[in-house]
């Protein structure tokens, strides 16, 4: 057995490098942002101003309109991802694990995942070139029209990331014991029945997890929109999401002065939106699912 004092010392030394970096550049900045949102740090001495930054964010007509616009767009961005990307991932995972493939399973899995390995910058430009009316493959300015711009960008994201839910659900599906599936097959169940009656109920927790991860990732989104449309994403802010809105507040852009405290306020608001939704999901849904499965 290890002596308790040796254990304590060893634990400290082994964990220290990882914890120090994660704490210093991961956790501390998030907490500092929350504190900063309560201050005015633009003068020589920091002044505590309570919730004044939040009041400004939600009452200043232009700023609050931009915020709600970005939040709404982000909700649409997430909805398109969940409604298209996750079902595609489920379909492909189901087919990959349907038992009809032999050696080709690994090849399909690798090929289908390739778009996910690309940088969003590259994905965005690849698609912008392809759908550019100049090139003539698509005759309609999909990105230049307010109504179609955000769905178009969302679908580019879906094209890039469908490999993620696919691999998640794939690894959940291959973990299902063979004898369960075999028993159903002997009873004469069709592949369709086997999937929805036996396999899918067993992977519902992972299905829920990928939905909530998609939520976190899309609400953290920035790269694709910025690469395609810059930090004031048009046409007329129709593709503005929380990530680009946040970037503009602290970095500034044409027509907007950089404001670090307001940026910290926006970051805190986004953080609490994500925290609330994630916590609600884990408390209300995931706990019941686990109880149900167990």
């Amino acid at each position: 057995m290890i002596r308790q004092s040796t254990a304590r010392w060893s634990l400290f030394l082994f964990v220290l490098p990882a914890l120090a970096l994660y704490g210093l550049f991961g956790i501390a900045p998030l907490l500092t942002s929350m504190v900063m949102s309560l201050f005015d740090t633009s003068r020589t001495a920091d002044v505590f101003i309570g919730l004044a930054n939040y009041v400004y964010l939600f009452t200043q007509p232009v700023v609050s309109a931009r915020f709600w616009n970005a939040l709404g767009n982000n909700a649409l961005y997430f909805t398109i991802h969940v409604c298209v990307e996750v079902p595609i991932g489920l379909l492909l995972a189901a087919f990959l694990t349907s038992g009809t493939l032999r050696r080709s399973e690994g090849i399909y899995r690798t090929l289908l995942f390739i778009p996910t390995t690309l940088s969003v910058v590259i994905v965005g430009f690849i698609w912008r070139l392809i759908i550019n009316p100049l090139w003539g493959v698509v005759g309609f300015p999909l990105l230049g029209t307010a109504a179609t711009a955000l769905p178009t960008i969302s679908l580019m994201g879906v094209w890039e990331y469908f490999g993620i839910p696919m691999i998640f659900l794939y690894s959940a599906l291959i973990a299902i014991p063979d004898d369960l599936v075999e028993a159903a097959r002997i009873d004469g169940a069709t592949p369709w029945r086997i999937f929805w009656g036996v396999k899918f109920p067993l992977i519902v927790p992972q299905f829920g997890l990928i939905v909530i991860l998609t939520f976190i990732w899309t609400f953290n989104g920035f790269d694709l929109v910025y690469a395609l449309n810059g930090s004031a994403p048009g046409p007329n802010y129709s593709t503005d999401i929380l990530g680009t809105f946040f970037y503009r507040t602290f970095f500034g852009s044409s027509g907007q002065v950089a404001d670090l405290d307001l940026g910290a306020t926006v970051a805190t608001v986004i953080f609490f939106i994500m925290l609330l939704v994630t916590a609600a999901y884990f408390w209300l849904v995931q706990r019941r699912l686990r109880a149900h499965v167990a």
Binding site: T100, L118, I164, E182, I216
Partner: protein
């Protein structure tokens, strides 16, 4: 026994006949492979063509007349691609290396030692897998300025390691849990110290090291946010940022754009194809808990 027979029969049936089910599965998968790879192939093919040929027949492969490397020439003379590659390589390998080493050390201790604070520390790392580190960007900028690290590659390395360590620790903990305790006890009975015991166990978790390395690599190489904010200077741009800036400058030079995109995409596709097994294992083990 009866079950074994049906299994054998089924395998035989699968191998020999093209059932409706099998045709359907292959058809759908092939269609999706085409959707996934088609656009990438179109870009790669057209990067080797002249401008009129790019617009004249986007889907035609280059022929003797239409073949041209002019786009690549302009990318290398007007862009900073070699420098960008060097920066991305430095940032990615350093971050991956630090993440693998630090995560492995931490995960070993969190699995091995029964101290009261361990569940809290482990929980802190597990929660970190989902934590949006980007939202702390403003204090990160201020810290980097205070440390005189703004616009350096080191700033990126520090942030990326901090960002990747939670997933690394979570993953490595699952691998260390599979190590038989007898091995560690035997090492200690032989008089090995704690670090020596760790070294003895290490070869058993080698697949985990590969999984952590591959899962860390992609998001670091592909990130746009932190290079844009922490290291935007010409000398420190990564490939992702370099491509983004290049495209902004040469909006109408299609051959050069396509060449830049090809140069940005191909190395990762090759790397992923080589390491896809480790990558997929890491991804599913890290988030699946």
């Amino acid at each position: 026994m009866a079950l074994d027979m049906t299994e054998i029969d089924r395998r035989r049936a699968v191998r020999s006949s093209w059932t409706f089910e099998r045709v359907l599965v292959h058809t759908v998968l092939v269609v999706f492979v085409l959707i996934a790879l088609g656009p990438i192939l179109v870009v790669i093919i057209n990067s080797f063509k002249t401008t009129p040929a790019i617009f004249g027949g986007p889907f035609a492969p280059p022929t003797g007349d239409t073949f041209s490397l002019a786009g690549y020439g302009r990318v290398f003379t007007r862009g900073n691609f070699l420098l960008n590659y060097r920066n991305s390589l430095i940032v990615t390998t350093s971050s991956v290396l630090l993440t693998v080493v630090f995560s492995t050390l931490a995960a070993y201790a969190l699995v091995e030692y029964r101290v009261r604070i361990v569940p809290f520390l482990a929980g802190l790392f597990v929660v970190g897998v989902m934590l949006p580190i980007r939202l702390g960007t403003i204090p990160i900028i201020q810290m980097m300025v205070a440390l005189h690290l703004n616009d350096t590659l080191l700033a990126l390395i520090l942030v990326y390691t901090a960002m990747s360590v939670p997933l690394g620790v979570t993953l490595m903990m699952t691998y260390f849990r599979t190590v038989p305790p007898e091995l560690k006890e035997a090492a200690r009975v032989d008089g090995a110290g704690e670090f020596r015991t760790f070294r003895i166990v290490l070869p058993l978790v080698r697949p985990g090291l590969a999984a952590v390395a591959t899962v860390t690599m992609l998001p670091v190489w592909n990130d746009l946010w932190f290079p844009l904010i922490l290291a935007p200077g010409k000398g420190n741009q990564t490939v992702t940022l370099g491509v983004q800036q290049f495209v902004g400058q040469f909006l109408n030079d299609y051959p050069a754009l396509l060449a830049a995109l090809t140069l940005g995409a191909v190395p990762l596709i090759v790397l992923f194809t080589i390491f896809s097994r480790q990558f997929i294992r890491g991804l599913s083990a890290g988030y699946g808990k």
